[in-house]
Symmetry: C2
Subunit: 395 residues, 2 copies
């Protein structure tokens, strides 16, 4: 099978989530990704939940399609190997705290000396510049500092962060765009460059119209739960068995909805006759709708409204998603045979290319699984040297 | 200034958010983006809030760096112009409902006949295949169907979608990766291809470890508010003036925290001595911490904990973010001079490349602002033909 990024060589110093998500997307698309891990310990996520028989599902999901080499980056010989691999690479990526790669003498300025054309990407919580540069960033911190958390949840109640650590994934995929754009430029001009991606920047750039509401009108966007600032009915409603999202933004969709509800005269009432009127009387309207939704199951309501082409959604649980027919048809749940745990399913790759589909057939590496192969085949080390490096715990 | 994607030609049929976010990222990086809009009406978001003096901040933010041509795609002459531009393009992108481009005879199969090497990307709610293909998708629908909403909010309470429409933005940036990977492949092989990106796929791929918790252990991930499934204290706490996020995941960080709190002996209590013990007694511990945080302002607590290098975050409001020193240093708030509204600030581009930084100097186009220029310069139409097309409302 041909792959889109065949021939692209990436040296990957990233750990945990943002960087590994980025390089997983690129590795599935065919890039040759060598992941550098700490000797004896590896990426922190090798010890993150869920763990079964010593294997972490966290690590296994985010590191498929990559090769693993262990290296002690603090030793002179480990550093030397890292520099030799840096010469081999088209792209280098790291997500240590700002300053760490400088201390290891593996920062862009050092690497440029041996590989002037390299594309070198750094991911951090707040970027390599600015007053927050050294602030400690977890996903919950980035979501809050970038503006998502304050806008998520219900008015007058405690705000909520998004459950999964999506600021990490979002930052990873923006970094992938940055890398591919820099490689495009390198192919055209022969020039490499440095990429500086911040989680806070990424979160801030994904605020839809919230910033322009402030800068254009001077208004301060607030939390509004599941409702819509200018349309009704547009909310989440209780059903017989769960909650359901129903979203209408104009008279046409509202008319379809009330026909399904068997209350087609609602639009004749002045208070519900137009979208602005419905928004002004949202509470009364939401109550009428919830009185209806409470009588039925999600499956019933969703079938009726899908048929009428009214935007509707069930809140899919993970239990439901792993059995979902759309997820299956879209190949968004792939299966891999992994040491100690056997066949396990993971999310697939959403980047669906017709000619060069993402290849998710190669499971994540065990710690240092490719150390010898890489040292022999890429750097031409002999068995004796490798043995000696092992004895000294450098690999 | 040199730009990373200089020379890349993109014909953009997208509207609203997912597609426009994708092409904004690429246009800032130097791609030549021609946005096709409906005659007299344009992208729906030209009428989305915030509106001032007839200008929409929603549209202005997401369409900078692009050119606008108006075309009646249902007319034969409009279709002919679209096909001529499709010949010019390296990349075509659209986000209509599945089937619409087929009905317009502007789908990949048709375009391939005039431009066999084209990279053609479609974005939709659920993809071009599968049982949900024709389901109507709004961002709230995609967030719910892909699994985010059910995992966001508090146990036993109504779940919450993320305030801003981030499933659109996330889908847009994954599409940008797909496009750049396909262009890389095209440069290597001369072959174009079709890209099929779904919002539900994207949301599902950004669930961190939630899927593998189910598939590896058989457990069902649930909403846990702002807490952490395996660490404490790790939550959001009320302060004198707002809420604050404090996140510790090990004894070291906890020890630093309780020293700042002036209660260094807490770790000597058996119930708080280890991370598992703290998690088991989370409620009692969170109460102690909140009793402390309530006495101080966010500014005070954040300064103390930053100093101690304990992960801490204020929930930045939009009012705060537009004055934030980090956002300023990172050039994440750019200013543009726009017709009728003067100078307005918008979020900048988070893809920071050192050699070819994103160029955000060109404001979004007025409706059809570049129609004549494009017809003359790219398609060599003469004044008379353009006049006649205008009279017939084809442009």
């Amino acid at each position: 099978m041909e792959k889109a990024l065949q021939g692209m060589k990436i040296l990957d110093f990233t750990r945990v989530y943002s960087g590994p998500y980025c390089t997983m997307l690129l590795a599935d698309l065919g890039a040759d990704v060598i992941k550098v891990e700490a000797v004896g310990k590896g990426d922190d996520t090798r010890h993150f939940a869920p763990i079964k028989n010593g294997q972490s599902g966290y690590y296994l999901y985010l590191n498929r399609s990559k090769k693993s080499i262990t290296l002690d980056l603090k030793s002179e010989q480990g550093k030397k190997i890292a520099l030799e691999l840096a010469k081999w690479a088209d792209v280098i990526i790291e997500n240590f705290s700002p300053g760490t790669m400088q201390r290891l003498k593996l920062d862009y300025e050092e690497i440029k000396k041996v590989n002037p054309e390299v594309v070198y990407a750094s991911i951090s919580g707040f970027g390599q510049t600015g007053p927050y540069r050294n602030k400690v960033a977890y996903d919950a911190v980035a979501q809050a500092m970038g503006g998502w958390t304050n806008l998520t949840g219900f008015p007058g109640q405690v705000p909520a962060r998004v459950g999964p650590a999506i600021s990490d994934a979002a930052t990873g995929v923006h970094t992938a765009v940055a890398i591919l754009a820099a490689v495009y430029y390198k192919q055209a001009t022969g020039k490499g460059q440095y990429i500086d991606i911040a989680m806070m920047d990424t979160v801030f750039s994904m605020l839809e119209n919230a910033v322009s509401i402030k800068t254009l009108l001077g208004e301060s966007p607030q939390r509004i739960g599941n409702s819509n600032p200018s349309s009704a009915p547009y909310n989440m409603y209780q059903t017989k068995d769960s909650y359901i999202v129903i979203a209408t933004a104009n008279d046409g969709l509202f008319t379809k909805l009330i026909h399904v509800m068997g209350q087609p005269d609602l639009i004749k009432e002045e208070r519900f006759a137009t979208n602005p009127a419905r928004k002004a009387n949202q509470k009364a309207l939401d109550d009428i709708i919830e009185n209806w939704t409470k009588q039925y199951t999600n499956a019933e309501i969703e079938a009726w409204l899908d048929e009428a082409r009214v935007p509707v959604a069930s809140l899919k649980s993970i239990d439901q998603l792993v059995e979902d027919p759309q997820i299956e048809v879209r190949q968004m749940l792939i299966e891999q045979d992994c040491p100690n745990v056997g066949k396990v399913k993971f999310p697939g790759n959403p980047i669906k290319l017709s000619q060069t589909p993402p290849d998710t057939s190669t499971r994540a590496p065990m710690l240092g699984e490719h150390t010898e192969e890489i040292l022999k085949n890429i750097l031409s080390y002999n068995d004796e040297t490798i043995k000696s490096l092992k004895q000294k715990n450098i690999i």
